[in-house]
């Protein structure tokens, strides 16, 4: 998923060791099933302090990792979901939620069906139906509901027009409805999805995104539903969502814990406060007074505060890897010489950038864009140089490139904070030493909308990406498939304007591979080809170093919640 369309400093996770230790008594995984253990006290108000305002609450349009997991654990349910557990392995395997089981596929994985549980209701007391699920998927085809991922349009077996758009125009226009009805059909309480290619990891997609969620047609106001929540989970929105300051979730009386074995739903209320700076949030959590004792956040501790994280404060901190990988993309419209790109790769000092961002608690060096938790992860052999940069090797490569030296290099990056500027200076130092003439070009307010123009004049850009669900399918194709990315006026997520027919072919072959393990190997091969071309240079895996208040119980974060705090397990002590 997109880590952010705005400047982001947060990073993320790993040592679950620490988070378990931090939980104190009773939060261990043995207390499953909603037992009222010491760590599982019901009641109280949980406060969620954050910086970036939520852009969408509409399930079809949400694409920010934090928002997806928060909504998944509180107000929205779907066929399947990730379990609430501190066991990382188990947390990554979806379990039944609104469905009776985790779904049945045909032998080629091109058709999936799910059956609805009895007794599940919307917040107004009406029963959730199979038709609600069908309607929810149909909203993905509506062109006016932007923001969300487009997997439903891509995968469902609805014929496409010549220009690649779907013949079905969504539930508002209804053009091509018959074709959609064939692809998604309800029979009693059982839905059947038909796909145009194998979709072996469909349950992962359902659990990781909100686009396959049910949506009640009578509640749909199109674009006006962006900040509306019609809940079927344990909480519902109280009043209206304030787009700048946040909102409050209260208990949904129509939710029946008997139908929901996943969410513990301990606090009576969850108050979201957005628009605070990282410094303010973390200073409040360090002070731990009043309501902040029952507060959590998704904003990492700024390095300047590390020295204060000791003793009791340290017990309230968690440090884990995140799924987000940061990388550099050479601009193929400008850096056409392979040797120059290789020199850039060799001279890149990821360690310098990580140190500037706070060291090993902020990030760790990455050897590929594919996260180590994904099937088929192999360190990319092409990125063989030291993570601190190999200036001597880079010099040799640059000198053999035949270009005039020093080679001018404009580095356009997401900047505007002292940390990001220092990180860029750290990278620039070794590039300069290798023979590049570096110009730093920080962009503060708008970033991705500038660099995804094919006319952008930077030679190299930085970017971050996390998988939509644990599969390389949601990493490499969205970033490097030139057919879906490159148009006349935008390169979408292929910021380096990389175009390779060979890679496109390999992407198609991998997508049509029904076996997940073999598919993983296919993506590793694509990654190898990208490394040979230096289509990207991996920098770091972000880590999440988060604080929470002293009254928080059952704190955990893992793959199920992309390493953000798990609202399904957290409670507030009296």
């Amino acid at each position: 998923m997109v880590i952010s369309r705005k400047p982001v400093a947060a990073l993320a996770v790993s040592a679950l060791l620490l988070s378990v230790a931090a939980c104190g008594g009773g939060s261990s995984s043995s207390g499953k099933g909603g037992n009222d253990t010491a760590a599982g006290t019901k009641g109280g108000t949980l406060y969620y302090l954050t910086k970036r305002p939520t852009e969408h609450l509409d399930p079809t349009r949400t694409y920010i990792g934090r928002d997806i997991v928060d909504l998944n654990r509180t107000v929205y349910r779907s066929w399947v979901n990730y379990p609430v557990t501190s066991d990382d392995k188990a947390a990554a395997v979806p379990v039944a939620d609104l469905a009776t089981d985790t779904g049945t596929a045909n032998s080629t994985n091109t058709q999936w069906s799910f059956t609805l549980k009895d007794g599940v209701k919307w917040q107004d007391g009406s029963a959730i139906t199979c038709e609600d699920f069908k309607y929810g998927v149909s909203r993905n085809f509506a062109t006016n509901l932007d923001g969300g991922p487009k997997y439903a349009v891509d995968y469902l077996d609805v014929p496409k027009n010549k220009d690649g758009t779907s013949t079905y125009q969504g539930p508002f226009k209804k053009t091509g409805q018959a074709a959609f009805d064939k692809a998604v059909s309800c029979k009693g309480n059982t839905i059947t999805y038909k796909f145009n290619k194998p979709f072996p990891d469909f349950p992962l997609a359902i659990a990781s995104l909100l686009i396959f969620n049910p949506f009640k047609q009578s509640q749909d106001q199109g674009e006006k539903s962006n900040y509306a929540i019609f809940a079927n989970g344990p909480y519902k929105l109280q009043g209206k969502w304030n787009t700048t300051s946040g909102g409050t979730f209260v208990r949904n009386s129509q939710w029946d814990s008997k139908t929901d074995t996943i969410r513990k739903a301990l606090p009576d209320q969850i108050v979201f406060t957005q628009g605070l700076t990282n410094e303010v949030i973390n200073q409040r959590l360090i002070s731990d007074s009043g309501k902040d004792q029952a507060a959590i956040t998704d904003r990492a501790i700024p390095p300047a505060f590390y020295s204060q994280i000791t003793g009791l404060v340290q017990k309230r901190s968690t440090l884990t890897d995140s799924p987000f990988v940061f990388y550099l993309t050479p601009n193929f419209n400008r850096m056409k010489n392979l040797k120059v790109r290789q020199a850039l790769m060799a001279a890149t000092n990821a360690v310098g950038q990580i140190t500037a961002e706070g060291g090993s608690k902020a990030a760790k060096p990455a050897k590929t864009l594919i996260n180590p938790t994904l099937v088929g992860y192999t360190p990319n052999p092409n990125f063989k140089y030291s993570a601190s940069g190999d200036v001597a090797a880079a010099k040799k490569l640059l000198q053999s490139s035949g270009e005039k030296l020093p080679y001018p290099l404009k580095y356009t990056y997401q900047g505007g904070t002292p940390t990001s500027d220092k990180a860029a200076s750290a990278l620039a130092a070794t590039w300069k030493a290798a023979g590049f003439k570096v110009t730093l070009d920080p962009l503060a307010d708008t970033y991705y909308s500038v660099i995804n123009k094919p006319t952008a004049d930077g030679d190299v850009f930085n970017a971050g990406w996390g998988p939509d669900w644990p599969s390389s399918k949601t990493v490499l194709p969205p970033l490097f498939d030139s057919r879906t990315n490159l148009t006349a006026d935008s390169n979408n997520s292929d910021y380096g304007n990389y175009r390779s027919d060979a890679v496109n072919k390999m992407i198609d072959a991998a997508a049509n591979e029904p076996d997940l393990q073999k598919q993983g190997a296919d993506y590793a091969a694509i990654d190898d080809k990208l490394g040979k071309d230096v289509a990207y240079i991996p920098l770091e895996i972000q880590r999440f170093y988060f604080l929470h208040g002293s009254k928080i119980t059952g704190y955990q974060s893992g793959p199920a919640t992309t390493y953000f705090a798990d609202l399904g397990s957290i409670g507030v002590a009296k």
Binding site: Y306, T355, P418, D421, K422, A426, D441
Partner: protein
Amino acid sequence: MTSPASELESHTRTSGDHSPDGTAVEQIAGRSPTQLAMFRFRKDKLSMAAFAIVAFYLIVGILAPLMVKFGVLDPFTNHSSAKFLDIEGGGIPKGFLGGVSLSHPLGLEPGIGRDVLSRLVLGITTSLAIALAATIVAVGVGTVLGIVSGFVGGFVDATIGRLIDLTLSFPQTLMLLSLSGLAVATLIKIGVPAGDLANGIYVTFVLGLFGWPPIARIVRGQVLSIREREFIEAARLMGAPRRRMYFKEVLPNLWAPLLVYFTLTMPAYISAEAALSFLGVGVKPPTPTLGNILTDSITYSQADFFFFFIPAFLIAVIVVSFNLLGDGIRDALDPRGAR
């Protein structure tokens, strides 16, 4: 200054300067008002101290780029290895007071390990350059419009008066913030090299173009009284052209208030540059300014207090010194106003 200026000075000022002190009168005999002012200024110890500090800053500011060129200062080399920084502890420099040592007398920057002293010294250059340029723009525009407004009067005066009101009523900081992206892009389009120069010019011009109204008002007031003097009358009778009247007859009589305003506007712009850096407008790192160093250091106020204290202290000292100097000059030039 040019000799006609001092002549005119004496011409306009003789009526006002009587020393009540007998001995002083004896000593003063034969001295020009400029010499008198210098004499009074030298006696004012506080102002002399402020002057010394300001002069020191100016000299440092002028010499810094040379020192960087010849390698005496090194504001851009990173020392980010574990030898210098506590990598696990958020990149705080190792050692006493944020890494103070013989080779780095004011320590290192957290996270990247650049030499703080070098950055501050070069930061003084950029900050003073921006403040100086902005002050020249403000005083220049204010003086020209003030003279024209006061001398011509009538419709022109009214128009300039309303322009002053209009300029003062703009929410300056908000404009600076919201226009920065667009304005810098425009500057780059018309050929200003992108980066520090474009950012610096933007800050300079916006500070200057919003800073002229008070100066124009002062100047206009002075001109209103000057234009009634006999020497102006004489010039007019002799058929002097307008431009000569403005710049040869009126302007030399304004240098005293202008000098005072110049010295009082500078410190305001030094603080303004720091404040704008905090809001993300202005010259960006790695090029140091006092403002962007301070912005970075604020988050470290607890983890590395010395790193935060030094730029804050330098800015405070220079602003106070400039203000004291301005007050001192005013007192020296116009002793009636002071006591």
